[in-house]
């Protein structure tokens, strides 16, 4: 063994210690990739921003002409110079809320089944099946809702109005107990449009919830199991508290989707410009269906009005999605057990 002499390092006396400037010294390939990724990232921001600016700019003439009346007027009658989105916004929210009420429990239970209950061999099948639901074009859901679902859904609507008609939202302006009941009063409603839209909201909400349920820390899951917890006990104690943000965020993302859904709604509803809480009754209108149904034969000023409606929808969905993103991002910090 050779002898090693130990020399204590001598500090070089210096006048002042300042933080050093560090050169990153990246590889050229790293720099190219960095540049490309930054450009593409910025491009996404640029597109979203330019859509907002375009819509905002196009809205100026309409907002100048109608002012605040644009938000309080229910009618959409360009020939009478009466244009407003009050009824349309209410209809949009009603359809979206019906979709949420139907899709939330389904998406939630599906996500929990996939992550915590399903045997491994059917798990991947279920995941693909739900992802496939997202791949079905919305026009197909519209046709499905109109031809396949509606003839059956009107029976549910009639039953609801028969027994819960005293609640304003379930009331229908017809006699629900009539022997020959007026079926057409129950068709083309916000309820049926909402059912079709819920099918499009499910895959998005389910995917987000599944992802956060899966992230629930294994250590905590095992702790709950080892204490004698049942599977639902584990879900209640560990998975739900951990995934709270993801559940809320996923629901709001799918709400954003539901608010903007067009094709299916356009097929199912019959346009009616009245503020009404009666979701089971025929006739309603949503913002996106209004635009899709009217821009074909719109004059220049009418087009500006439609774009203004689009601008309002854009701002609402942007707000909903941004809140959802913040909620989801916060929830990731749920794993506070690291030491």
């Amino acid at each position: 063994m050779s002898t090693v002499e130990y020399t204590r390092p001598q500090a070089v006396p210096s006048l002042e210690r300042l933080p050093r400037k560090l050169a990153p010294g990246h590889q050229p390939s790293d720099r190219i990739f960095h540049g490309a990724a930054t450009t593409i990232g910025m491009f996404v921001l640029f597109i979203t921003g330019s859509i907002g600016i375009f819509l905002g700019y196009q809205s100026i003439p309409t907002l100048r002409h109608y002012g605040l009346r644009f938000f309080t007027e229910t009618n959409w009658q360009p020939e009478l110079d009466k244009i407003g989105i009050a009824a349309v916004l209410v209809g949009t929210v009603e359809v979206a809320l019906v979709a949420m009420v139907v899709s939330f429990p389904l998406a939630f239970m599906m996500a929990l089944f996939i992550t915590d209950y399903a045997p491994k061999r059917i798990k991947s099948w279920l995941v693909s099946a739900i992802d496939l639901m997202a791949a079905v074009p919305s026009i197909i859901y519209g046709l499905w809702g109109f031809f396949l679902l509606q003839p059956h859904a009107i029976n549910v609507a009639r039953w609801l109005s028969q027994y819960l008609g005293w609640v304003p939202i379930f009331k229908v302006d017809t006699d629900p107990n009539a022997a020959v009941w007026q079926q057409s009063r129950y068709t083309s409603s916000a309820f049926i449009a909402g059912l079709a839209v819920s099918m499009m909201a499910i895959p998005l909400a389910c995917a987000v919830m599944r992802a956060v349920f899966d992230q629930a820390p294994l250590g905590e899951r095992e702790a709950a199991m080892a204490l004698g917890g049942t599977r639902f006990g584990v879900a209640r104690t560990v998975v739900f508290p951990f995934a709270k943000g993801g559940i809320i965020g996923g629901t709001m993302l799918s709400l954003g989707r539901a608010l903007g859904e067009t094709a299916a709604v356009l097929i199912i509803i019959s346009p009616e410009y009245v503020i009404k809480p009666r979701i089971l009754e025929a006739g309603t209108q949503t913002t996106s269906a209004l635009i899709a149904g009217n821009f074909g034969d719109a004059t220049k000023s009418q087009l500006s009005a439609l774009l203004t409606a689009g601008f309002v929808l854009f701002l609402i969905t942007l707000a909903v999605n941004s809140v959802a993103a913040v909620v989801i991002r916060r929830s990731r910090s749920g794993a506070g057990t690291d030491i």
Partner: protein
């Protein structure tokens, strides 16, 4: 320290299945109905697989009531798998299988009539990494097992239980003023003792510990070891450890696990801890306990 445990050689043993917790026809106190104290645990001819890979072969181990048994051996020899078989956590892993019996006071916890959740409740577990429920307060963490097993307790009873369990885990004095603070705000060692308190709250008959100190600093390790020494007389403990000194300090009996190249793991030697460390019979045990491999 040694409580007169007789450990027979593996060949003689296979009694538990038929004798059902009795020694020479004399009924044991812990096999009587209503007994809630520490229990006897017998693992009989345990083998285990992950998918098609056999990881444990023919492991038999008897753990007398109110003792501390240490499982030692190098990484990957099946100690943790064996431990997880003792409270039915093994089967929560996809593709995991096992053969053999685990008898808790003579009752097979894998028998058809025995509930999975009941087995886990009676045989508690403390994990390698402290895993308190971060969203819950310290007090709620302690009583988490009660709500998980739908056990209802009154408010004062609950407070007493929290104090009792935290005291037994040696944590009460450090946290008594902040019981409503989140459990995740504690230090690693405190979190681990909180997990011990949580496991004790459901009154397990046996407590399994899977390398409970490997993520902790020496001071926290010493506190946990003190806790184990105090608990040893109240509950049967089986502890997996990589730390030979720890095994020597806390346990009365020990088992040395080893998996030869490509073969499933098994017990090479078991006996009183002092015998295993001071007079090992098998040369492989001698090599391991003297730090020549592993």
């Amino acid at each position: 320290m040694i409580r007169g445990i007789t450990v027979r050689s593996p060949r003689e043993r296979k009694p538990a299945r038929h004798a059902a917790g009795s020694v020479a026809g004399r009924p044991r106190v812990d096999s009587q109905p209503g007994w809630t104290g520490p229990a006897r645990l017998d693992a009989v001819e345990i083998s285990a697989w992950f998918g098609k890979t056999k990881v444990l072969e023919d492991v038999t181990l008897s753990v007398p009531p109110a003792t501390v048994t240490a499982l030692i051996g190098p990484s990957g020899c099946g100690k943790s798998t064996f431990l997880r078989i003792l409270n039915r956590m093994h089967e929560s892993v996809e593709g995991a299988q096992l053969a053999g019996e685990v008898l808790l006071n003579g009752q097979d916890i894998y028998a058809a009539g025995h509930r999975l959740t009941e087995a886990r409740k009676q045989i508690g577990m403390v994990f390698q990494k402290p895993n308190p429920f971060p969203a819950m307060s310290i007090a709620d963490n302690v009583t988490a097992g009660l709500s998980l097993t739908s056990t209802k307790v009154g408010k004062t009873e609950r407070q007493e239980l929290v104090e009792h369990c935290l005291s037994r885990a040696g944590l009460w004095n450090e946290v008594k003023d902040r019981l409503n603070r989140p459990g995740s705000a504690l230090s690693g060692g405190q979190q681990q003792r909180l997990c011990i308190a949580r496991a004790l709250a459901v009154e397990p008959k046996v407590l399994l510990m899977d390398e409970p100190c490997s993520a902790l600093d020496p001071t926290s390790t010493r506190r946990i070891e003190e806790t184990i020494a105090e608990l040893g007389s109240q509950v049967t403990i089986v502890i997996v450890t990589h730390n030979m000194q720890q095994a020597a300090r806390v346990s009365q009996q020990a088992a040395f696990f080893l998996a030869e190249q490509g073969a499933p793991g098994g017990i090479v030697e078991q006996g009183l801890t002092t015998d295993l460390f001071e007079h090992p019979v098998d040369p492989r045990t001698a090599d391991y306990v003297n730090g020549r491999f592993g």
